[in-house]
Amino acid sequence: MLDVSTISSTIVSGVLLGGILALTALGLSIVLGVMRLVNLAHGDFLVVGAYAGLFFLQFTGIDPLLGVPAVAVFVGLLALPVYRLLLAPLANRGAEAQMMTMFAVSIILENAFVLAFSADTRSIARDYATVPLTLGPVTFPLIYLIGFVISVSLILAVHWLVSATAFGRDLRASAVDAEAAATLGVDVKRVQMLTFALGAACAGVGGTLIGAAFQFSPSSGAAYLLNSLAVVVLGGLGSVIGTLVGGIALGTLQSIGGLALGDGYRDLVGMAVFLLVLAFRPDGFLARGRT
């Protein structure tokens, strides 16, 4: 069973899957970094993206992966009123109030999904989503590679946005010290709103990828939230590249864990790693300070 082909395939699959995990966690990471908010509805934003991708395909016939920009814009737009109406008024109240509000949003979203779409498990069924790709001794699902490419591209784009644009500069300033940034003329509220929308958009795209590669249902959000938290902690808060590395690390560790102990232990390995990192290096392996 444990021949070179199996091991190398497992590791490559883990790396590719990790890239996708990184994208799903990216939104959580930047929101946490800039707004100090653990968005407990993050997993549900992912699911919104998955449904959006599914219905985009059903109504337009266009492949959801080509429609990824549309999904991103759609989910991002949805996030704006959430910020404006629910989060902005609580900005001075401390982290718990906003976190609990997002938690309430999460349970409302789940209920809304069931009411609107029924509790059925769905999947975006595309032919290319379920074929293997073999390169030498290594075999892995093609969709993992496609997802990896899309994820890394998006992550790099966000990284460029954060490090090389004026908005990114404002974002980083708000993350380090919101009050100081405000005195320097940064419209912190606007930055936070746009960051929240960006985070939601990334989650939406991640959700579409998940929907194509795997499956989802109204209650899938919670599991993805936990995975995303693990990635964020592994890679360091607010660090975009750190999230990518964290995702790949988690994906690989989970795959190796699954190979060594059995598939049932993948999630357990993920949680155990999460707790270990949280206990010993809560700022993440790559943290040198915050980005």
Partner: protein, 322 residues
């Protein structure tokens, strides 16, 4: 909880205030003890549920409101209590009070075991850490078949009748409330608030924050384990999704927020509210989750001190907007 909870002005009255509270609690115990002789099954069941919630909520309120530790890990200890109780009852045929006592010790022991790791984390990290711990434990319970795996385990003997269970739950809730009286009416409350508001400053003043937080965590966990134990006995059959599920953590957190975090009566009001709301909305199954979420959002925004805080606002004394 930092700015989200303005410190309640616990004016220190004469030491008699604490004794009055104890007297009230003991009086409530005496009255409610005889409730099974008058009340129908329906009210006993509601009472049972309320007492379980009160026990859980008091502990959570102590951690969050007084010590600044927002926990999403209640389900760990509820589940632990459930499985430990069943193990003791099934394998060793211990009497129920002894089993519940051992439960409490087990809950406290688990809390003490994980606290070195958990307390390295401050604020949001702590919350996330408790969530991860709860999920880890649930996954373990599902995978390890020695504990019944996903099929769970059954209580071999029939559980005691409802009036007996009602009284057990009443006692557990009473213990929880008495413990809170102890914390609120003695020096302990000052120490707790000092640690909550500024841990480092408190340390400078000679308070040992680690010990204080540990104490709150252990106490809350012991109470949660007892509550889990008695709930399990009532159910007669337990499995990981029901006893280690996140809904425990979520329900407790919601009810204390609704009642009022850091408020002395927050847990009780929150528990009553949660049970009442559950009963009212049970006839409208499609909407009850959404309505609970909406109520949470509205309360967080407009009544950060919960229902109890609203009650305190009604007379002329107004607070400055937080």
């Amino acid at each position: 909880m930092s700015e989200a909870v303005a410190s309640c002005p616990h004016r220190f009255r004469a030491p008699g205030a604490g004794l009055v509270e104890v007297a009230v609690l003991v009086g409530a115990l005496a009255v409610l003890w005889f409730a099974p002789d008058f009340a129908g099954d329906y009210w006993l069941q509601l009472g049972f549920r309320t007492f379980i919630f009160i026990a859980l909520a008091q502990g959570w309120n102590l951690m969050a409101g007084s010590a600044g530790l927002v926990s999403l890990g209640t389900s760990c200890f509820v589940g632990l209590g459930a499985y430990v109780t069943f193990g003791l009852l099934n394998r060793l045929s211990l009497p129920l009070p002894l089993a519940l006592l051992i439960c409490a010790i087990a809950g406290g022991a688990l809390a003490a075991l994980v606290s070195p790791a958990l307390f390295r984390l401050r604020g949001l990290y702590f919350t996330v850490g408790t969530l991860a711990l709860a999920e880890l434990l649930r996954l373990l319970m599902v995978i390890v078949s020695a504990f019944g795996g996903a099929s769970g385990i059954f209580l071999q003997e029939d559980p005691p009748a409802l009036p007996v269970l009602f009284r057990y739950a009443l006692v557990v809730a009473l213990i929880a409330s008495l413990a809170m009286t102890l914390c609120a009416r003695t020096r302990i409350s000052v120490i707790l608030r000092a640690v909550r508001d500024d841990e480092d400053a408190a340390a400078q003043m000679g308070v040992r924050p680690y010990r204080v937080k540990l104490g709150a965590f252990v106490l809350a966990s012991a109470l949660a384990a007892m509550a889990g134990g008695i709930q399990a006995v009532k159910l007669g059959a337990i499995e990981p999704y029901g006893m280690f599920g996140l809904q425990w953590s979520i329900d407790v957190l919601s009810m204390v927020i609704i009642g009022g975090v850091g408020m002395r009566l927050g847990p009780v009001v929150g528990a009553l509210f949660a049970v009442a709301l559950g009963e009212m909305l049970a006839d409208y199954p499609e909407l009850h989750i959404a309505i609970t979420g909406a109520i949470l959002i509205v309360l967080i925004r407009f009544a950060p001190h919960g229902v109890v805080g609203l009650g305190a606002k009604l007379p002329l004394t107004r607070r400055m907007p937080a």
